[in-house]
C-alpha cells in the first residue's frame, strides 16, 4: 500500500517538475527567439503611450490688465471604432447636435479611412468627428450617451464608442477689438498676424513629449510645464474702442474704401490704439478669407504701403531746417511752378502763391516750395535725411507682417532727378503708416526717433520683464525738431484747420495724395486722405495718424481726415486725462 502511494507520489512529482521545467524552457525559448523583439514591441504598445503635453498659451492683456486673449475649453469629439455598437445612432446624434452631414458621417463610421501612417495602411481605430466643440454641446452629448447606455438593449440605440477629449483653445473676450494688432491662433495652435504670430514661440511655450506608462507602478512624474509667456500690451482698450468706433463711422460717412488710425505716445513709442478696417471677430478666425482679400489688409497700419502725399512734407521741412538749407526766416517766391530734371512741378491748385515763408509753405501745402527745399538741400542731403527717418525700411515694430515701403534713391535704375522734387511732397515714395509715425516721433520728441511697439511687458515663469523706450536714432537736432513743430502748429492755426482741438496746441499736417494707377499715371478722381498730428506741442502725449483710402464725400484731406483727427483727440484727452494747455500750466505751477 505504502509502495503504491509512493509510486503515485513520484509520478506526480515528476509530472509537475516536467511541467514547470517545460514552462521555464518555453519562457527562455520565447525570450531568445527571433520574434522576441516583435513581442517586446507589442508589449510596449500596451504598456503605455507617448503623450505631448502642451502648455497653456499665454494670455494677452491691455495696459490696464484687461484680458484681450485667453483660453477656453473645447472638445474634440471622436469615435473609438472598436467600441461602436450602433453607427446610425452616432451619425444621427452628431449630425443634429454638431451640424454634421449624416450620410458622410455614417459612411466614415462604416468604412473608416485607412491610417496611412502604418505600413501597410490599416483601418483607423480612432476617428475624429469634429474638433472645437463647445462644452455645452459636449455635455449634451455625454448626457445622451449616458441615458442610452443606461437603457441599452441589444440592437437598440447606443452612442458607445463616442469619446470626448477636452483641451484649451484660444478665445478673445473682446471679440473684434484690437483684432488687427492681436492676430489670431488657428486650429493647429499657430499664431497668425500681429502679436500672436510675432510672439508665437513665447506665447505657445515649450511642449513636452514623454512616455506615460499604463502601469500605475511605473507612473512617471509629469514635469511642471510652465504656461506660455503672457503679454501686456501698450494699448488702452477704452481708447482702442473709441478709435475703432470713430474709424468705422468715418469710413462709412466718407464712403472710403478703408481706413486706418494709429495713436502712439510720441515720447515712448507705445501704441495706445491701432485700428484699420475691416475688423475680424477673432473668435471666428476661419472667416478670414471672407473678410480680407489679401494678407496686407489685416493690419493696414503696418502692412499696406501707400504714397503719403503732403504729410510727407513734414520730413522735407525738418530735413531742410536741420541741414541748414533754410532757417526760420527763410522765404520763397512761388511763381506757380518749379522746374527740376526737365519737368515742371505745380501746386495742388496750379496757382502761384507769391512770397511765402516756411509757415505759408506748410499752411498752403505748396508743392513748389517743397521742391525748392529739396533742390536746395540736394539729392544727397535729402535722401540721407529720409534714410535717417527710416523711410523705405521696416521699423522693426513687434507685430508680424510689416512691409518695408520703397524709397528710390540716386543710383537706383528707376530714380530720376525729378523724383527729388516729387518725393519732397510725398509722391513717388511708398511708406507704411507705422513708418510715418516713427519718423514723425523724432519731430515731436526733441529729435529722438522712438521705435513704435505694442508689447509693454512679458510675463514668464513668474517674472515680468518690462520694455523700455528704444530710441532708434536722432535724425534731426532738438532745435530743428522744436522749430519744425512750431512751424506746423502755426500753419494749422493760421489755416484754421479742422483738426485743431480747442484748448490744446497741436502740430500736424494734412495730406491729400493722388493714387497712382498701374500705368504710372495718377488717378484724377481717387485720393488718399491722411493727417498726422501730435500734441500738446510743449509736452507731446499723443500722436495720431489718420488715413482714409479713396473717400467719396470730399476731395481734400483737410475736409475728410482732419475732422477725424480732431474727433480722436477730443475723445482721447478725456480717456487719457490730458488737461487743456492752460489748465496744465496752472496745475504745473501749483
Amino acid at each position: 500500500m505504502r509502495q503504491q502511494y509512493q509510486w503515485r507520489s513520484v509520478v506526480l512529482i515528476v509530472f509537475f517538475a516536467l511541467l514547470g521545467l517545460s514552462i521555464l524552457v518555453q519562457i527562455v525559448r520565447i525570450q531568445t527567439s527571433e520574434q522576441a523583439n516583435d513581442f517586446r514591441d507589442i508589449a510596449d504598445l500596451y504598456s503605455g503611450y507617448y503623450r505631448t503635453f502642451y502648455p497653456a498659451r499665454g494670455d494677452i492683456y491691455d495696459r490696464d490688465g484687461h484680458l484681450l486673449a485667453g483660453n477656453r475649453t473645447v472638445y474634440e469629439v471622436g469615435v473609438n471604432l472598436r467600441d461602436i455598437k450602433n453607427p446610425e445612432t452616432i451619425a444621427l446624434t452628431v449630425s443634429v447636435t454638431l451640424g454634421m452631414n449624416y450620410d458622410n458621417t455614417l459612411a466614415s463610421l462604416k468604412n473608416p479611412p485607412m491610417n496611412t501612417n502604418t505600413i501597410p495602411p490599416q483601418p483607423l481605430v480612432y476617428l475624429v468627428l469634429k474638433d472645437f466643440v463647445t462644452p455645452e454641446n459636449a455635455e449634451y452629448l455625454k448626457e445622451v450617451k449616458q441615458n442610452l447606455d443606461d437603457n441599452y438593449t441589444p440592437g437598440g440605440d447606443s452612442l458607445a464608442g463616442l469619446e470626448f477629449k477636452p483641451r484649451l483653445a484660444r478665445s478673445y473676450p473682446e471679440k473684434s477689438i484690437a483684432a488687427n494688432m492681436l492676430g489670431f491662433v488657428n486650429f493647429e495652435g499657430r499664431g497668425y498676424f500681429g502679436v500672436e504670430e510675432k510672439y508665437n514661440d513665447l506665447l505657445a511655450g515649450v511642449p513636452v513629449r514623454m512616455w506615460v506608462p499604463s502601469n500605475p507602478n511605473r507612473v512617471e512624474e509629469i514635469p511642471v510645464i510652465p504656461s506660455g509667456a503672457s503679454l501686456v500690451l501698450t494699448i488702452d482698450r477704452e481708447v482702442q474702442l473709441a478709435v475703432e468706433d470713430i474709424l468705422d463711422r468715418s469710413v462709412a460717412s466718407t464712403g472710403s474704401v478703408s481706413g486706418t488710425i494709429i495713436v502712439m505716445h510720441p515720447q515712448t513709442g507705445e501704441i495706445l490704439a491701432m485700428a484699420s478696417t475691416p475688423q475680424l471677430d477673432l473668435n471666428q478666425f476661419w472667416q478670414y478669407g471672407q473678410v480680407y482679400n489679401n494678407a496686407m489688409e489685416f493690419n493696414r497700419g503696418i502692412s499696406q504701403i501707400y504714397e503719403p502725399g503732403s504729410i510727407y512734407k513734414v520730413f522735407t521741412l525738418a530735413a531742410a531746417l536741420d541741414s541748414g538749407a533754410v532757417n526760420a526766416n527763410s522765404s520763397y517766391l512761388d511763381i506757380g511752378y518749379y522746374s527740376l530734371g526737365g519737368a515742371a512741378i505745380y501746386n495742388w491748385d496750379q496757382g502761384a502763391w507769391g512770397p511765402q515763408n516756411l509757415v505759408g509753405c506748410m499752411q498752403h501745402s505748396l508743392n513748389v516750395c517743397m521742391s525748392w527745399l529739396a533742390d536746395t538741400m540736394g539729392p544727397e542731403t535729402f535722401y540721407t535725411y529720409m534714410r535717417r527717418f527710416g523711410i523705405g525700411h521696416p521699423t522693426g515694430t513687434d507685430m508680424s507682417g510689416e512691409a518695408a515701403g520703397r524709397l528710390k534713391v540716386p543710383g537706383d535704375a528707376d530714380w530720376h532727378l525729378v523724383d527729388l522734387a516729387t518725393n519732397s511732397f510725398g509722391q513717388g515714395v511708398a511708406v507704411t503708416p507705422i513708418q510715418m509715425l516713427m519718423a514723425a516721433s523724432s519731430i515731436a520728441n526733441e529729435g529722438k526717433m522712438v521705435l513704435p511697439h505694442v508689447v509693454r511687458s512679458i510675463v514668464s515663469n513668474g517674472r515680468q520683464n518690462d520694455s523700455s523706450v528704444q530710441v532708434i536714432g536722432t535724425p534731426i537736432s532738438a532745435q530743428s525738431a522744436r522749430l519744425t513743430t512750431e512751424i506746423l502748429a502755426t500753419a494749422l492755426e493760421n489755416g484754421e484747420s479742422l483738426g485743431l482741438v480747442p484748448g490744446y496746441r497741436i502740430a500736424g499736417k494734412t495730406g491729400t495724395a493722388q493714387i497712382p494707377a498701374p500705368n504710372g499715371l495718377y488717378l484724377s478722381d481717387q485720393i488718399n486722405a491722411s493727417f498726422i498730428g501730435w500734441g500738446p506741442v510743449d509736452d507731446p502725449q499723443f500722436m495720431v495718424f489718420v488715413w482714409l483710402e479713396k473717400p467719396q464725400s470730399e476731395d481734400w484731406a483737410s475736409l475728410v481726415a482732419a475732422p477725424v483727427f480732431k474727433e480722436v483727440v477730443e475723445r482721447m484727452v478725456v480717456l487719457l486725462d490730458i488737461p487743456p494747455d492752460a489748465i496744465r500750466s496752472q496745475l504745473n505751477g501749483q
Partner: protein
C-alpha cells in the same frame, strides 16, 4: 547522520540527563519523527515565503494605488487648469469693454465730453502705475513624487543597503 539530525543536535543541549537523553533518542529514532521535521521545515519555508509575498504584495498594491491617485490628481490638475481658464475668460467677457459700455448706458450713464471736465489738484494722488502681474518671485516648483511611490521592494532594499554602506 543526516543534516537535520546534526542541526537538531546542535540546537538541543547535548548535556542532558541520561533519562532525558534516552527519551530524546527514542523520539529521534521514531519513524514519524523525520517526516514531521520535514513537514515543519517545509511549512516554515512556506510561511516565510508567504509573509514576504504578502509584504511585497502589500507594498506593490500600495504603490499601485498611489500611482493611480497620482494619475487621477494629474488629470484633476488639468481639469482645474481648464476650469480656471474658462472662469477667467468668462469674467473677461462679462467685463468686456462693449458689455460694460452697454451696461453703463443702460444705467443712464453717458460718456463725458471734453468741455464737461473740471480738473483739480488732489494732494498725494499718484497716477496709474505700470501694471504688475507678478510678485517678482519665480513660481514655486511643484513637489516631486517621493521615491517610495514608484520604487519596488528590491529597489528600496538596494537603496537601504547602499545607504548603509555609504555610512
Amino acid at each position: 547522520m543526516t543534516t537535520v539530525n546534526r542541526l537538531y543536535r546542535a540546537v538541543l543541549t547535548p548535556k542532558l540527563p541520561p533519562r532525558v537523553e534516552r527519551l530524546a533518542r527514542i523520539y529521534r529514532e521514531a519513524p514519524q519523527y523525520k517526516q514531521r521535521l520535514w513537514v515543519a521545515l517545509f511549512l516554515l519555508a512556506v510561511v516565510s515565503i508567504a509573509m514576504v509575498s504578502a509584504l511585497y504584495l502589500n507594498l506593490t498594491a500600495s504603490a499601485a494605488i498611489a500611482g493611480r491617485q497620482i494619475q487621477y490628481l494629474e488629470l484633476e490638475i488639468e481639469t482645474q487648469q481648464r476650469v480656471n481658464a474658462d472662469l477667467q475668460l468668462q469674467l473677461a467677457s462679462l467685463l468686456s469693454v462693449e458689455t460694460m459700455e452697454r451696461r453703463a448706458y443702460a444705467l443712464g450713464f453717458r460718456p463725458v465730453e471734453r468741455d464737461m471736465l473740471e480738473y483739480m489738484v488732489v494732494p498725494g494722488y499718484v497716477g496709474p502705475q505700470r501694471l504688475r502681474l507678478t510678485s517678482g518671485q519665480p513660481a514655486p516648483a511643484a513637489p516631486g513624487i517621493p521615491p517610495e511611490f514608484n520604487q519596488s521592494l528590491l529597489d528600496w532594499l538596494n537603496l537601504q543597503i547602499r545607504a548603509a554602506a555609504s555610512n
